[in-house]
Amino acid sequence: MKRTVDPYNDLTVIDDRAPRTNQAFIGSLALVAYLADWPWLVGILALQLAVGLTLGRRFCLPCLLYFEFLQPRIGEGRIEDSRPPRFANMIGVAFLGASTLAFIVGLSTVGWILALIVSALALLAASTGLCVGCEAYLWIARVRGLTVDRHPA
C-alpha cells in the first residue's frame, strides 16, 4: 500500500481512521475498567493519551496498531487536519486525568462518572465519526475566525 502522507512526519494531517481507532481503544477499555472495577486502567488510559500527545504518534499504542497493522491492510482513509482530533485528545486527557485524581482522593463515583463520559463520547466518535471534542475545536476556530472578520486589523 502506498501512503500519501507519512503518519510520523506529516503531523499537520492525519488519516481519519487513526483517531477512530484511538477512540475505539479508549472508549472500550474505559468500559472494561468500569466493568472490572479497575480504576488503575483509567490512569493508564490517561497516561497513554498524554504520552501520545507529548512524545508523538510513535508512542501512542492505538496509533501504532492502526499505522503498522490496520492501515497496511485496509488502506489509507481520508486525510484530515490533525488539530481537531488532537484537541479532542487533550479534552480526553483532562477528563481521564481528573477521573484518576478522583480515584486517588477516594471519590470513586466521581471518577467513574468522568471515565464513563469519556467512554460514551469516544465510542460515539468511533462508531459515527461525530467527535464532540473536534466539533468544539471547530466551533472555537469558527468563532475566532468570525471575530477576526468583524474586527480587521
Binding site: T12, Y34, R78, I79, L123, S127, G145, D149
Partner: protein, 133 residues
Amino acid sequence: MDRVGIVVGVLVVVAIGWMLYKRSRVAVAAGIDRVNPADFGFEPGAEGRTALLFSSPYCRACAHWREALEQSGVALLTVDVSVRGDLANRYKIRSTPLVLAVALHNGVVLAHYTDEPKPEEVEHMVSLLSPAL
C-alpha cells in the same frame, strides 16, 4: 449486575447519539433548499446554474469533487469554509464536502451531495448544470 446495567445504559446513550447525529446531518443537508446568490458574489439577475462546493483544507473528497466538476466543464464556485466562516455559519455547514447545484436567478438548490463523489452523483450534477439545460 449494577455495573452491567450502567454499561448497557452507556451503550444505549451512544446508540441514541448515533441516531440523532444521522438525522441531524440529513436535516442540515436537506435544509439548504435555497441560497442567496449575492452571498457568493453573483450580481442580481444573474442567469444560469452553478455548482457551489463548500470545502476545507485537507478535505480529499472536496478535491475529488472539484476535479470531477472542473473536468466536466460546468460552472463551479468553491467556498473554503475555513476562510469564509461567516458563510459556513449562515448556511450551517457542519461538514465538508457539501456540493450544491444552484439556479442563479432565484438561488434554488436543485441537488446536493456530501462525502466522496460517486460517478452517478457527478453525472447528475453535470446534467443539472450543463448549459444545454
